[in-house]
């Protein structure tokens, strides 16, 4: 039986109400837009990469609690990491969101709070939007002008 409290854990509600790293990033070296046409969520992600390391990351936009909290948690977890490390986190989260057998290991830290989402298949896209946008932004820094990311 799916449990709402499993989806809307305290960490999720907290990051939804008080998103971290929210707002513009004037010194960004890369950005990408994410769009979820199903719910109209829009997300703008800005990164400042220095020597392949994410020195700073911020996001803007409006979305549901799951997408906002996921983006907020993501910025916390990848800030300070190298591009390769961030992509590894992406892979882990992707696995967590889509594979029923995936365990939320310690290396995920607070991101483990997203594991409740996979019980709600209609909401997986909400949680994954920012992560796909991150991948696009990391590519943006390598090659400019990426297309907007869509979850459809």
């Amino acid at each position: 039986m799916m449990d709402l409290k499993d989806l809307y854990r305290d960490v999720i509600l907290d990051h939804n109400r008080n998103p971290r790293n929210f707002g513009p990033l004037p010194a960004a070296s890369a950005s990408a837009d994410g769009f979820n046409p199903l719910c109209g969520d829009r997300l703008k992600l800005h990164l400042r990469l220095v020597d392949d390391r994410i020195e700073d990351i911020r996001f803007e936009g409006q979305g549901c609690a799951i997408s906002t909290a996921s983006a907020s948690l993501m910025t916390e977890s990848v800030k300070g990491r190298t591009r390769a490390e961030a992509l590894t986190v992406f892979e882990r989260v992707h696995h967590l969101l889509t594979d029923d057998a995936a365990e939320a290991g310690d290396e995920l830290g607070k991101l483990a709070a997203l594991s409740g989402v996979r019980e709600f298949p209609a909401r997986v896209k909400c949680a994954s939007l920012c992560w796909h946008t991150l991948v696009a932004a990391l590519k943006d820094d390598a090659a400019p002008a990426p297309p907007a990311v869509s979850t459809e």
Binding site: L4, C39, G40, Q62, I66
Partner: protein, 426 residues
Amino acid sequence: MTDISPAARTAPASARRSFDVGSVRRDFPVLARTVHGKPLAYLDNGASSQSPDAVIAAVDDYARAHHANIHRGVHTLSQEATALYEGARDRLVGFINAASRHEIVLLRGATEAVNLVAQSHARPLLVPGDEILITHLEHHANIVPWQIVCAQTGAKLVVAPIDARGDVHAEAVEALMGPRTRILACAHVSNALGTVLPVARLMAAARARGIVTLIDGAQAVAHLPVDVRALGCDFYVFSGHKMFAPTGIGVLYGREALLERMPPWQGGGDMILSVEFENTTYNSLPYKFEAGTPNIPGTIGLGAAVEYLGSLDLAAAHAHEDALLRHAQAALTAIPGLRLIGTAPRKLGLVSFVVDGVHPHDLGTILDQDGIAIRTGHHCAMPVMDFFKVPATARASFAFYNTFEEIDRLAASVERARRMFTHGPG
């Protein structure tokens, strides 16, 4: 024909029963089910409505006893299938008071019907600088087909405004009817806001100026009596699945004189009289627009839905829906931080709303856990969302089988979601 099942026969008007929501609910088997352990409260009728036993039985009976291709066999089953299919068309004539069965084209739904009119009526006629007039509250199905034909012909799309309540003022639309306006296409009822448009007046104004008119009745037919001749429109489109019939079937009503002049939209079997490689003669109306084997079970289901509606006291059913709407608006506006989107003086069928601090998508998930089905999102009306500066709304849309108790549950569940998001879990 004596072998046609009772389900497919027309009930005499004397069989009409007085409206009682409890007894009507028993006609709809799905309403008895539970979702997440709670009784289903189905408040997403604007997206698609549920089917009564009579519709399910008609489709089932066709599949079990009468299925064959139509219009082409001398054998018994083909004749029965044809009679059932054409019988449904005849019921639709009466349902919207068309002048004849030549005016009822059976298509996939409202979307396909608008596309047919755009491509077959508008496209050959439009020249650069011509105008197609729509309103700001249209469903994408009544926007995009016109944008496509504008791109094909150089015509221009003109959009009549809505006011802050989501209402459409006839004067504002009339002010945009100019010498180059060729087509007026507007909703009868808005799917995102519930606004009832002043269609009779708009049709009269358009007719006086020689403008061809199309009404998108997708959200109207289940909720109010429609008389296309009294409305005076040229085209009227609607979908079966929003009026208790299966998906994949809908109707294009067109005035015969106009349909007669339009070229076929698709080519194939059934739409022709004779085919030679040099020359093909098209079939008469409405078959000219029904290429290929159609949705026979869907059509039979739609005919059964019309018959079912005819067995109800519809005036009482519609009055019940109106009471539901008022009750919903009162119950929801009592919730702190809740804002109704769409407060036109003439509304029917639905409430759209947003709640401070709770995204509609989260609301949809929480309500679902309480067994309550609503729609959340942009409702295929992104220009309406932009107008109200919201990314999405939550929408509860009603049918006559809904109850006051279901609406109380809706309000309680919305309040629970609001508390959860503004005061933390619990």
